[in-house]
């Protein structure tokens, strides 16, 4: 049995410690934001934030995550934003993370299968760099992680525009 902290909640899971976090999240905890894309940390579809850093859950073993480390999945982004902004519980329920809002506003996804990782990567970027240039956005999605975040539908242009739009929402705060 292992304890992990996911989206602000301590969760106990009864699976072998070498189980990749991706399968723990999807199959044990029913958190379906992260997707299985390659299992090789080559695409980014499975990304989650661990203490604010984008991590590939497909190659991260359960036993590699300490109980007090904070895992945030796509599902947890609204609460993450609400906490950062000090929103009330009521407000938090009806709020999406600005990155999610921007993704909808810019109609970014096509099939959307990679977009979990894109949104996680955008959140990581904007939390450390609130006003990234296009060059910095490209760098973040291509060379900052263990591999580029890949999109087969070719939505990179829409992602860049959505990151820029999310930056303006985040700058305004709540």
């Amino acid at each position: 049995m292992a304890t992990i902290t996911v989206n602000g909640v301590k969760r106990e899971v009864q699976v072998p410690g070498d189980t990749p976090l991706l399968y723990v999240l999807r199959n044990e905890l029913e958190l379906i934001g992260p997707q299985f894309g390659c299992g090789l940390a080559q695409c980014g579809a499975c990304s989650v934030l661990i203490d604010g850093k984008e991590v590939r859950s497909c190659i991260t073993s359960l036993s590699d995550v300490a109980p007090n480390q904070g895992i945030t999945t796509l599902e947890g982004l609204p609460a993450r934003w609400a906490k950062q902004q000090g929103l009330s519980a009521e407000e938090a329920k009806t709020t999406l993370h600005p990155v999610q809002q921007a993704w909808i506003e810019e109609q970014t996804p096509q099939c959307g299968f990679c977009q979990n990782g894109m949104i996680i990567k955008a959140t990581e970027l904007l939390e450390s760099n609130p006003h990234p240039t296009i060059g910095q956005i490209k760098e973040a999605f291509t060379t900052s992680g263990v591999s580029p975040n890949l999109c087969r539908c070719g939505t990179y242009t829409a992602i860049i525009e959505a990151v820029q739009y999310a930056a303006t929402i985040m700058a305004k705060g709540r």
Partner: protein
């Protein structure tokens, strides 16, 4: 796939007339589908309705108008990211019915027991008349009939706005109109539900004139995006029926290996796993996904296969295709553009081009490997939960595999990764394997392919080569153009698990099959240079490489991928046209205008010229060299597909020392006739351009004599964000055309010939081979 002709309605024969439409009145309920087929009257051609299917002749199988004025629509098509079902289909129905976009609150897609018409996730706009449009038009007429009766006002004195029928000083909403009422309407349909094309709505109902469109043309958002982004959507990958087991499949060692013996499972390590063998199919099943993965790896190491070497290897591919492939058994096709007599013109002209163009095998490469959950019940009913471009065809294929009838099979559709054509023939890979394994263990089984399975065991876009000859006259005009296109067939719809297991499937592509899976190669790239006096375009077909030699009948299986066949035929043509312009000493864009007479073709070329800031001059550029630091060039391409004209311009930078090409800027001009949804079309075009650049620069399936040698995103790379250009999209709304053309997939085909022309412009050298990989570019420039 042989040819997707530009001629509408030529697949299922004649359409019904307006008179027949009036004559085919039956009695049916809209809103609450309680009336069965026994009430249908008249001689309407209609499909037989089977168990677990909707009756397609009932209007409520397509469109439900509810008493609260909300509307539900159903389509057998599934969404793969284009969003057309959630945007365009709502817009089309809204305009035909005279209701706001928002009134259509529910869209049911793809489930074979909950949607009426089948067919695939392609050609969503149906050359301007998708099934749902005709049904809406029929329903509108029936609603007017009902309102006329109710209000006591002649039908031609009625008008509709926002779902309210008014006339003679009276009015009534659609919701009130359908309360407990019946519509005098049956929907005439024709076709085979579980075939690739599904059912087609027949007849000729009066349609809304374009001048009355108020919803079409506006940028409504795609509703499924919000639920996906908020993690509120159930994807196929999320489906977990009670008692479900996880499985992985150990695929054969080569594309022709048969099973000698399956590896023994180490029960001490994997006490809850089991191995299932069916023919040459080896499945490993476990209660948890991680155990299934590990146990499958362990079983794979002990599994013995026969050796097989029946492929030419990618290094010798074009030599094999040219010299060894059988091009004589399959009949040769000629295009409708063929005219005049090319030979004398080719013989007598001074300026000539004779060249061969080669295109690699490419993977569809969905970002998520294929997966499916199957639940074979004790009574023989099969439920499949998956993400598939043609659920009804899958239903037929699974029924055939199990030697049962399609009414025993239900396919439930969920979102998933884009397939780009790979599953438009009903399977992507895992569906049939899940069924076989579920049947073996009597429980729901989830088969998830790993990345290597998805690259090595899926179908690919076929390789091709084309021989072009053209001649320029003394006025600098093309006087003769001849092309011979050679490629294996593009539509192997056999489910691979069934093939490996030795279970029944449709036949492999052959000369004798129907046109969809035939080895016959038609001309799919409509000729757009009508003033050329002598034209000869021929298509040559052969068998899939390695298939006949494979004891499994597998080999390199091919399947249509975005702009299938036309992609492979447009690249040689458009690069050759750019080369012809260079031969004539003419500007490549103006040269195209000078060889076109279709107003819309000229329109997109002029639009792309203006928007891209194209400077008119011949290619190669005056200072073109093949050495030095960074060289720049530009190129142009043109295409007509599914009612839409496309023109593309790009600027590239090439580094001779490495051979690397970077596309720096590009512009696409699109004239689809009526622009359905500008914002969505812009996004689709941007995506297509990126995929097209990826295809052009990077994508090539490599294989040895036994199978595909790539197995991940490192060995089969696709374009990353760092490598995308600035993309400008120019949408030319052209309502006078009166209809809307296809809007997304074609965008990917324009990049390759324009980039290759830009390389020529920059360096004076032509690489007539895709992809334009650094190693090939480097070799070209050094030569």
């Amino acid at each position: 796939m042989a040819t997707m002709s530009e001629k509408p309605g030529n697949i299922f024969g004649a359409t019904l007339t307006r008179r027949q439409f009036v004559k085919t009145g039956g009695v049916l309920v809209v809103g609450f589908s309680l009336v069965g087929t026994e009430l249908l009257k008249g001689d309407t051609p209609k499909a037989a309705t089977m168990k677990n299917s909707l009756d397609p002749s009932l209007p409520s199988s397509w469109i439900e108008i509810h008493t609260d004025n909300t509307i539900l629509i159903r389509t057998g098509k599934t969404d793969f990211g284009q969003g057309s079902i959630f945007t365009a289909y709502r817009q089309i129905v809204a305009d035909e019915l005279g209701v706001p976009f928002e009134a259509i609150t529910t869209v049911v897609t793809g489930d074979t027991d909950r949607t009426p018409d089948g067919s695939g996730a392609f050609d969503f706009l149906g050359r301007g008349t998708p099934n749902i449009r005709k049904v809406a038009a029929y329903t509108y007429q029936a609603l007017l009939d009902l309102a006329s009766e109710r209000l006591g006002v002649a039908k031609d004195k009625l008008s509709v706005k926002d779902g309210i029928v008014s006339g003679g000083g009276k009015s009534i909403s659609y919701g009130d109109l359908v309360k407990g009422q019946q519509l005098k309407l049956t929907i005439p349909v024709k076709g085979d539900l579980t075939s690739i094309m599904g059912l087609t709505v027949e007849g000729d109902p009066p349609m809304k004139p374009v001048s009355q469109y108020s919803v079409i043309g506006k940028s409504f958002p795609n509703s499924i995006i919000a639920s996906k982004v908020a993690a509120k959507e159930t994807w196929a990958t999320d489906v977990r029926p009670p008692g479900m087991l996880h499985a992985r499949v150990v695929h054969p060692k080569t594309l022709g290996s048969t099973l000698v013996s399956a590896g023994q499972l180490d029960k001490t390590k994997f006490p809850n796993s089991q191995v299932i063998v069916k023919g040459n199919l080896v499945g490993v099943i476990a209660p948890t996904e991680w155990e299934a993965i590990q146990a499958a790896q362990q079983v794979a190491t002990g599994t013995k296969w026969t050796e097989w070497k029946g492929l030419p290897g990618s290094a010798k591919l074009y030599e094999y295709l040219r010299k060894e492939a059988d091009w004589t058994t399959t009949s040769v096709t000629k295009s409708e553009a063929t005219k005049g007599n090319v030979e004398p013109a080719l013989a007598s002209s001074q300026k000539k081009l004779a060249a061969t163009y080669q295109l690699s095998y490419m993977k569809h490469a969905p970002i998520g490997p294929t997966m499916a959950v199957a639940d074979v019940k004790l009574d023989g009913t099969v439920h499949i939960y998956t993400h598939n471009q043609n659920p009804q065809e899958l239903r037929g294929e699974i029924a055939m595999m199990l030697r049962t009838t399609p009414d025993h099979v239900v396919v439930h559709s969920y979102p998933g990764p884009g397939h780009y054509g790979r599953s438009n023939g009903g399977n992507a890979g895992a569906e049939d394997e899940a069924v076989i394994l579920s049947q073996a263990v009597g429980k729901p089984v989830r088969v998830q392919w790993m990345r290597a399975d998805d690259i090595q065991w899926s179908t690919q876009s076929a390789a091709a080569f084309s021989d072009v000859q053209l001649a320029i006259d003394e006025k600098g005009k093309i006087v003769a153009y001849q092309v011979d296109h050679y490629m294996p067939p593009m539509q192997d719809d056999r489910p691979i698990g069934a093939v490996i297991a030795g279970l029944p499937t449709m036949p492999a592509p052959d000369v004798h099959n129907d046109f969809i899976t035939s080895t016959v190669i038609g001309i799919s790239d409509p000729w757009v240079y009508a003033p050329v006096p002598n034209v000869m375009e021929r298509g040559h077909g052969t068998f899939q490489v390695g298939q006949k030699a494979s004891p499994l009948a597998v080999g390199l299986r091919d399947h249509s991928m975005r702009t299938p066949v036309q992609f492979q035929q447009n690249f040689p043509r458009e690069l050759a046209i750019s080369e012809a312009a260079a031969l004539a000493g003419a500007d490549a864009l103006q040269f195209r205008i000078d060889h076109a007479n279709e107003e819309r073709a000229i329109g997109v070329l002029k639009a792309v010229r203006e928007a891209s800031g194209w400077d008119t001059r011949p290619s190669p550029r005056p200072d073109a060299v093949s050495t030095g630091s960074t060289l720049r060039g530009r190129g142009v391409s043109l295409m007509f597909r599914n009612g839409t004209y496309w023109a593309f311009v790009c600027q590239i930078a090439v580094t001779p020392s490495t051979g690397a090409i970077v596309v720096e800027k590009c512009t696409m001009a699109v004239d689809p006739g009526i622009v359905m949804n500008p914002a969505q079309l812009k996004r689709q075009v941007e995506g297509g351009v990126v995929m097209g650049i990826s295809n052009a620069l990077l994508e090539e399936v490599t294989f040895d004599e036994s199978g595909i040698t790539q197995d991940d995103w490192i060995s089969y790379p696709i374009l990353t964000m760092a490598d995308i250009p600035e993309i400008k999209v120019v949408l030319l709304n052209n309502p006078k055309i009166g209809t809307y053309g296809g809007g997304s997939e074609a965008a990917n085909a324009l990049a390759a010939p324009a980039i290759a022309a830009a390389l020529h412009d920059a360096t004076g050298k032509v690489l007539r081979r895709l992809p334009l990989k650094p190693a090939y570019v480097q070799a070209l420039l050094k030569a």
